[in-house]
Symmetry: C2
Subunit: 391 residues, 2 copies
């Protein structure tokens, strides 16, 4: 095999975006051979876009059984990510799953367990992990040279969406369709990066508002507080309702302060680590000398095509993935814990009660409204993601 | 009267600092005629510093009764602020109180009520209100031109203090001596500015750690979440434990985003206010055009001497104060509510139960440790406050 034959399950904004990238030559080791979608208009778009060169299926399972594909990209509504992933595992088809890994961790645990019993390559579309500034930040934080983390703080409020966005699909921003709002649709990237760079917290306390800024039933405004095992604390704030939001991620460590804002990583190194200075300083108003250092990155930020190229490399030559599929559960755990904290008005310890979460979610799914008068929009999402500006 | 004769009650770091400013000619309408302190070493420092020109008292009440002063600066431990303020009111002596107004709002309410029945000028030392960037920010936020506030966010973690600071006075960082930690000593300025610029919230939920980074019994790490009457939310994060912290204050409004960081105010105006754009935008990924504008301030930031000069102007000519004494209760209300939220592990609605707060505080005062082996340090606090860098 010198090229991976890929089938795309779900030809919406993301599925068609991946198709366009591959068609544009950004993934030389991948060829799209098939597309599956239940929506005839979307299949027609795939036919036109491929000039008739890809096989079209109105049923994803038929595509998986067709023999035409070695691997699948799963870009359907969130609840179906683990479902189709497991159908692929059964058939020995490699899988790239769009974020989030699923809607609830119970479901994702089953997916992960099934992946362990398969021999396929299983990746998550965490394209923000390809951003050089976050890769560098992770390298520095995890290196140990700056000691322990004391505080994390991510203000990621530049996910503005107008009402028209939510009106563009019947599944959007519903408990039954997406299983959540900004945490499930926009923020899986940042939730993943947060834990990828700083590790998982041990408890979560969140305040969120449902349909605060939009006519939707799920959350569009979240403030979450977390505590880590070493006693460090963190905050994660997000919304789709701020007109011109911010994306500022700060990590305070014993020996340095790191900040990513506007796609730039800035690092201040301390002459003396805090725990040592705290004890040794003999003057009441003594302060730590901090010097900003020049941080060089490799400058690369290949995003979705970078994730797909690594996926192809993993299939063809056993090279590492950008993100293993089984890691998708971590950011999802954070999102689920935030919802559970809001629903129970309590701090949630990790691991949380997954049955409780599932039952609370299903209560909301049961009364989830189907949206009427939905105007389906085909959207060009170029420029709506990619940089650390969150878009 | 062409000069206000001032007596300083408490000649510690702050009292001696005010003396130095006045002596240096920064307050041409003020003359220090007396100093009171229970500590002979401090009185000796006042004698030396004034070249024997000020009257010295080991009892503040004797100074208040001496006929030597028209006004007093109260710069003693927090619990005594309302006590001495009321002694001044009784005698018709004008009062400038150091922050915080007191330790608990019950006490401060009594002080405020007493001030209403007096004819004296009563000011609070909220010197950060003299900073041109915060004055300008307040003017813009309160002007109405940008509509309503949607989110406030203050990361004020550059109040680093080494252990030596806390070891420099027996009253420092004890429930009995200060009635709190970073919220009561370092942050009264920011808590005041926060409410001065954005208004008071209606509920508070806080997480704080006591003696997390230092050997102290009070809080040195706080993350607080608030909600405002209009549904806006806010976060306030502070510590004395970060080595090289941040001071970044962001306000998101319907029509603009305002950020103060590193003593610079930046403002982005939106072409269309969010509520209008939210409805009118017809594309799913439409975004609001925001343009950064040039913000001009008057460049003035006279700090403590500015507060004292306005105080003299109020006494001599009825001019406005920088901060009325009765306004000190607002920031204190926020601090008290944060403590109460942590102690009760619950969200606190404002106005809160002041008896409950007082009882909870007194439980802690009852077991408050007196510090042994305290090495009293005389500290030059120049450069430890003044700018929006929080120091």
């Amino acid at each position: 095999m010198d090229k991976v034959r890929i089938g795309i399950i779900g030809f919406g904004n993301m599925g068609s975006g991946h198709f366009s990238n591959i068609k544009a030559g950004l993934c030389p080791e991948i060829v799209v051979t098939a597309v599956a979608d239940i929506n005839p208009d979307r299949l027609e778009a795939a036919r036109t876009g491929s000039e008739g060169k890809v096989a079209l299926f109105d049923d994803a399972l038929k595509m998986l059984d067709s023999g035409l594909i070695d691997a699948a990209i799963i870009s359907v509504p969130h609840y179906f990510h683990p479902v189709y992933a497991q159908e692929c595992f059964k058939r020995g088809i490699h899988v790239m799953v769009e974020k989030p890994a699923g809607v609830y961790t119970k479901q994702v645990k089953e997916m992960n367990a099934a992946s362990e019993n398969s021999n396929v390559v299983f990746g998550m579309m965490f394209n923000q992990r390809t951003n050089c500034v976050y890769r560098k930040m992770r390298e520095l934080v995890q290196s140990g040279k700056y000691g322990e983390i004391r505080r994390t703080n991510w203000l990621i409020t530049n996910w503005f969406r107008p009402q028209a966005y939510y009106d563009s699909g019947a599944w959007r921003a519903t408990w039954s369709g997406e299983g959540g709002g900004v945490l499930m649709n926009q923020c899986p990237h940042q939730l993943d990066l947060w834990q990828w760079i700083c590790g998982m917290p041990v408890r979560v306390n969140a305040h969120m508002k449902f349909g605060k800024w939009h006519d939707i039933e799920v959350e569009d405004d979240v403030t979450a507080y977390v505590e880590y095992e070493n006693g460090a604390t963190g905050v994660f704030i997000t919304t789709t309702g701020d007109g011109f939001g911010s994306n500022r991620f700060e990590v305070q460590m014993d020996g340095a302060k790191l900040v990513v804002e506007n796609d730039v990583l800035r690092v201040w190194e301390f002459k003396t680590p805090v725990p040592q200075f705290m004890k040794e300083c003999k003057t009441a108003f003594g302060h730590i000398e901090a010097e900003e250092i020049t941080v060089e990155t490799d400058g690369k930020n290949p995003q979705h095509s970078g994730v797909l190229n690594a996926f192809a490399g993993a299939i063809l030559r056993g090279e590492p993935l950008v993100a293993n599929g089984t890691e998708g559960i971590r950011g999802l755990t954070l999102a689920n814990a935030m919802h559970l904290s809001q629903w129970t008005n309590a701090t949630v310890e990790l691991p949380f009660d997954e049955d409780l979460y599932y039952n609370e979610l299903m209560k909301r799914v049961a009364v989830s409204r189907r949206k009427e008068n939905v105007h389906v929009l085909f959207s060009d999402t170029k420029g709506t993601y990619g940089g650390s500006n969150g878009k």
